[in-house]
Subunit: 207 residues, 2 copies
DNA sequence: ACCTGAACACCGTTCAAGT
DNA sequence: ACCTGAACACCGTTCAAGT
C-alpha cells in the first residue's frame, strides 16, 4: 500500500485505525451480540492483523469500554433532545425521557448490554462512568423540576431519579434479554413505560 | 479407581458427574463471574477431562442454563417463603417479595447475571422459562390480591406485575453490574426498594 | 510510530479409543 | 454407558521484526 506523505490524516498503513476498529466493533457487536463478539473478527473486518489493535486499545475490555462510552453518548444526545423537544418540562418531559430510554435499548440491544454488562470497573474506565453520569443527570434535572413544580421538597431528588432510572432499566433489560418476548409482552412495552411513569407521577403527587 | 458393582449410585469413574459439574459450575461462576467462567476450569475443579461434560450437557450453554434454572428455583423458594411468612398478604407481602428479590440478586450477583444475561433461548431451554415463569407467578398472585383487596379491577394484573418485576429487576441489575456502587448508592438499596413499593402502592390506590 | 508474523496459553467441541 | 487423550479451530495477548 503506497500512501502520499502529503496525506496527513492517514498514518502508516491504515490511517485512523482506532476509529475504524471502533466502527467495526460497533457493527460486529450488533451482528453477533456481546457473546459472539471477538477481537479477532473485528480485525478481519478492519483488514488488519490481530496484533494491530493493541497499539490503540489496551485490550479487549478497552474496546468494549469504547463501545459503551459511544452508547452512553448516543443515548445522551437523544435524551437531551427529547427533553428539549417536550413542551411540558415536568411530567411530559419525564415521559418522553422514559420512552427515549427504553427505545434506545430496543433499537440497540447488543450495545445496551455491553454498556451495562461488561464488568468495566470505574478504576479502569473512569470516562465510562463520567459519561453514564452525564446521561443520568438528564433524569436528575427533570425529576428535580417535577418535584419543585409540584411543591415538594427536592431533597429526595437523587433517590427518586435512581428509582426512575431503575424502573426504565428493568424494562429495557428484561426486553433485550428476551424475558418479555418470551413471556409475551413485546408489543406492550409502551404500556409498561406508561405504567412506570404513571406510578412515579402518583408517588410525587401523593407525598 | 476401583468401584464395587454393589454400589449402584456410582457409575463408572465418577458417580453422578452431572451433579458434580453443576456444583463446580455454581462455585466457579460465583468466584470468577460470568465472564471468567470456563468449562475447562469446571472440569479441573471436578477432576475430569475436558471432554467429560459432553456426556451430560449438550454444550457450555446447557450448563449455564442449568445454573440459571437452579437460580430461579432457589429464588422461588425464598420468594414463596417470604410471602407465606408475611402477615399482611397484600402490600406487606409485596414489600417482602421485593426485598427478597433484590437481596437474592445481591447475595448471588454472578448467578443472577447468568440467569438473565446468557442469551438462553426459550426454544433450546424451555425448562428455564418455565421455572422463571413459576417465579413470576408469585408476584402475579400477590399483585392480584393487592388489586382485589383494594377494590380495583384485576384485568391489569399482568401488566402491573411485569411493571413491579421490572422495577425490582432494574434495581438488582444496576446493583450487580456495579452502577449503584459507582454512583454511590450501595448502602441505600433498601431505600430504593422502598420507593419502588411505595410508587406501586400509590399507583394502585389512585386508579 | 504503526503494523505484521509468529508464538504461546487457553478455550469449546469432536471423536476414536479405552474400561 | 462413561470417561480419556488427542486433535482441531478459534481466541486474547505478547514480542521481535519489519516499514
Amino acid at each position: 500500500m503506497v500512501r502520499s506523505k502529503l496525506d496527513p490524516g492517514r498514518s502508516y498503513h491504515h490511517g485512523d485505525l482506532k476509529e475504524a476498529l471502533l466502527k467495526a466493533s460497533l457493527e460486529l457487536v450488533s451482528e453477533k451480540g456481546p457473546h459472539g463478539f471477538s477481537l479477532a473478527e473485528v480485525c478481519r473486518k478492519a483488514g488488519v492483523s490481530v496484533a494491530a489493535p493493541y497499539r490503540h486499545y489496551r485490550d479487549k475490555e478497552a474496546i468494549l469500554a469504547a463501545i459503551a462510552v459511544a452508547g452512553f453518548e448516543q443515548y445522551y444526545e437523544g435524551a437531551a433532545a427529547a427533553v428539549a423537544a417536550s413542551s411540558d418540562k415536568t411530567f411530559g418531559a419525564l415521559s418522553a425521557l422514559a420512552t427515549t430510554y427504553v427505545n434506545f435499548a430496543i433499537a440497540n440491544p447488543s450495545r445496551y448490554r455491553v454498556m451495562y454488562g461488561s464488568d468495566l470497573s470505574k478504576a479502569k474506565f473512569p470516562e465510562l462512568y463520567a459519561t453514564a453520569r452525564r446521561a443520568f443527570d438528564v433524569v436528575f434535572c427533570v425529576v428535580e423540576k417535577c418535584l419543585i413544580e409540584n411543591g415538594k421538597s427536592s431533597e429526595n431528588t437523587y433517590a427518586m431519579s435512581v428509582s426512575m432510572w431503575s424502573h426504565c432499566h428493568g424494562i429495557a433489560m428484561l426486553c433485550v434479554d428476551g424475558f418479555l418476548r418470551e413471556i409475551a409482552m413485546d408489543e406492550r412495552i409502551a404500556e409498561l413505560v406508561g405504567l412506570a411513569v404513571q406510578s412515579f407521577v402518583e408517588q410525587i403527587k401523593s407525598t
